[in-house]
């Protein structure tokens, strides 16, 4: 494990990305303590403060570092809280998709026969279908809300996990010791938990890193299109969407700063994921 992190730290870009992601996650978790304002407390908002540029000192007496939005919200606070929601959605969707995908993938690899064919056909079909369309349709059918959104994100993403788990599990299954263990009573469950799961998890975790970033991006896109969460809980995507109309008149900050936060987070997670993938991919090892 130590050697793993030492190798990871050799890539300075990936190391910086990991630190940035940690800082962002830390800031989002501690938002209630470090944000100057509670952006959900409508009573604390003053329309006189609306659409002010970065550095403006508002009626509350403190400077708005990143300016304010159309309702007079402090953007810095709104971004911290928005990050919380984006991360929540991304991680929740990632974890559920990972569990369902791993279950289906291992089941397909273990069961074989028509179960294998049926599961993997559906998975492959879905992989060729753009995730965003599926998510759009589900949101349209299910309506808006946190759990509906998670369902849509999971439906759009579980197939990647299932593919990965299936690939790793069926490679493991073909090994001799697994076939030998299968001949013993209590074999199957034992094999799944002792042999297959430990070998399937590392690639799944790599996929999960990237998929959390994708889920955050997808959520932001849906929210930007007005199909994500209800406006009472603005995620980053909605903050960006709300600022869009003011962009034309030069009030760029309402969209740009939440967007920067979103991108730094997503690119950071992706860089971490890329490095993890390179490190766990035996084909790239020299």
């Amino acid at each position: 494990m130590n050697a793993f992190w030492r190798e990871y730290a050799e890539n300075k870009v990936a190391l910086a990305a990991a630190l940035i992601v940690l800082v962002i996650v830390g800031a989002a978790l501690s938002a209630p303590w470090i944000a100057p304002q509670d952006p959900y407390d409508l009573a604390g908002l003053n329309l006189m403060d609306a659409r002010r540029p970065p550095g403006f000192v508002g009626s509350n007496g403190y400077p708005h570092l990143l300016g304010t939005d159309a309702q007079g919200r402090d953007l810095f606070s709104a971004i911290l809280y928005g990050l919380r929601i984006s991360l929540q959605m991304g991680v929740a969707a990632g974890l559920v998709a990972l569990s369902i995908g791993a279950l289906l993938g291992i089941l397909a690899a273990q069961a074989g026969g028509w179960i294998e064919t049926a599961i993997m056909r559906v998975v492959d079909l879905q992989l060729s279908f753009p995730a965003i369309l599926l998510a759009l349709v589900l949101v349209a059918v299910l309506g808006q809300g946190k759990s509906q959104l998670v369902i849509a994100l999971v439906a759009a993403q579980y197939a990647y996990f299932a593919r990965t788990a299936y690939g790793a599990a069926s490679a493991e299954r073909r090994k001799d010791y697994v076939e030998a263990a299968a001949a013993t009573p209590l074999g199957t469950l034992h094999i799944v938990f002792r042999h297959i799961l430990p070998n399937v998890l590392p690639p799944l975790i790599v996929v999960a890193t990237v998929q959390v970033a994708n889920a955050i991006s997808l959520e932001a896109t849906l929210s930007f299109l007005g199909l994500g969460l209800p406006p009472t809980e603005p995620s980053l995507g909605m903050l960006i969407a709300n600022g869009f109309q003011y962009m034309m008149s030069g009030r760029y900050w309402i969209s740009v700063y939440p967007g920067l936060a979103l991108i730094v987070l997503i690119v950071g997670i992706n860089l971490v994921g890329d490095q993890l993938r390179d490190q766990t991919n035996p084909r790239l090892r020299r």
Binding site: L125, S128, F129, P130, I132, L133, L136, V137, V139, A140, V141, A213, S217, A220, T221, F224, L225, G226, L227, G237, I240, F244, M247, M248, G250, Y252, S255, V256, G259, L262, I263, I266, V267, N270, L271, D274
Partner: protein, 325 residues
């Protein structure tokens, strides 16, 4: 070859059937089907009459068959919002989306493949690293955000290009096209760039990986031993070797680009099907949603089919296997 074509056609038809069942279950069976067919403003009598006329009191499997029958006749119902047949509505919007998607995929391929080939040819050079950084950004930065930045930079700050809308079109074959006039192109450029970024990133990765692999093969070594210049080897040997995955992705991406156009069209107010579906979702115009889904599924199946068949044209080995199969 003929057997191969027939086999693929049958497969495609089967997938279409499965997709139609999914859409039916998704939109008809889960939601209240009458909402899909009749405007919510209709009176109780009209609703009851419609339920009987449309057979919504019948068992589900009979309803599905009826639904299939209507699909086959191209009858998708009437849009609540536009009051016109859904199929006509979608077909009228389709050329704009097709033009946008095609422009995006073309930009992505024509720019991405040379960049990727270079990055694979000299993987350790600073230029290759810069190219890969672009591709990482293209992959991870959400499309809508890039669209915003493009508008902010080129339309608001520099004022070089229009921020949205389609602008003037030229009628050819009864369809309006943007790319035929300079002004039309100026409207097309930003959205096409926006939509192409993801494809660009993908083409770069794909052709880089392919080139790196190809450069290590004996084929390239043998070509070098024959005294071919590296440029010739890249252009004539490597490009042909990596063309199969690239054409595959070109085709498949054309499909997903049509889907991703949803976002770009919304940002740039591009009057295509993507904007139509978003509008119909927000206004609960369900017949449009159903039709869009079925058509997109149809499109995907068709594209997959065409890609499969064009494999055979590009890879002479498959051509023979196909004939033997």
């Amino acid at each position: 070859m003929l057997g191969f074509v027939i086999q693929r056609l049958l497969q495609a038809a089967l997938v279409m059937l499965a997709m139609s069942a999914l859409v039916f279950v998704g939109v008809y069976a889960i939601g209240n089907p009458i909402d899909v067919l009749i405007s919510p403003d209709a009176t109780q009598d009209i609703r009851a009459e419609a339920i009987r006329r449309l057979g919504l009191d019948l068992p589900l499997w009979q309803q599905y068959l009826a639904f299939l029958g209507r699909l086959l006749r191209g009858d998708f119902g009437t849009s609540f919002v536009f009051g016109m047949p859904v199929l006509d509505l979608i077909l009228s919007r389709l050329p704009a989306t097709l033009e946008l998607a095609l422009a995006a995929v073309l930009i992505g391929t024509l720019v991405g493949v040379p960049l990727g080939v270079y990055a694979g040819y000299r993987p350790d050079s600073p230029v290759a690293r810069a190219i890969m950084a672009v591709s990482v950004l293209g992959f991870s930065v959400p499309t809508f955000w890039v669209g915003l930045i493009l508008i902010l930079t080129f339309a608001v700050n520099l004022d070089w290009l229009p921020a949205g809308d389609r602008g003037p079109t030229v009628q050819v074959l009864g369809i309006g096209w943007s790319f035929l006039t300079l002004e039309g192109l100026s409207f097309l450029l930003l959205p096409a760039l926006n939509l192409s970024l993801f494809k660009l990133a993908m083409m770069i990765r794909l052709s880089r990986a392919g080139t790196r692999e190809a450069m290590l093969t004996d084929t390239v070594k043998f070509a070098r031993a024959a005294g071919l210049k590296d440029r010739t080897i890249l252009r004539r040997h490597v490009l042909r070797l990596i063309s199969i995955p690239i054409v595959t992705v070109f085709g498949l991406e054309l499909g997903s680009t049509l889907a991703f156009a949803v976002v770009t069209e919304t940002i740039f107010s591009w009057p295509g099907v993507g904007k139509l579906i978003i509008d119909s979702i927000t206004s609960l115009d369900r017949p449009v949603m159903v039709a869009y889904l079925v058509l997109v599924a149809f499109l995907f199946v068709t594209i997959n089919l065409v890609v499969d068949l064009s494999y055979a044209l590009l890879d002479p080995r498959l051509r023979r296997h196909g004939a033997a199969a």
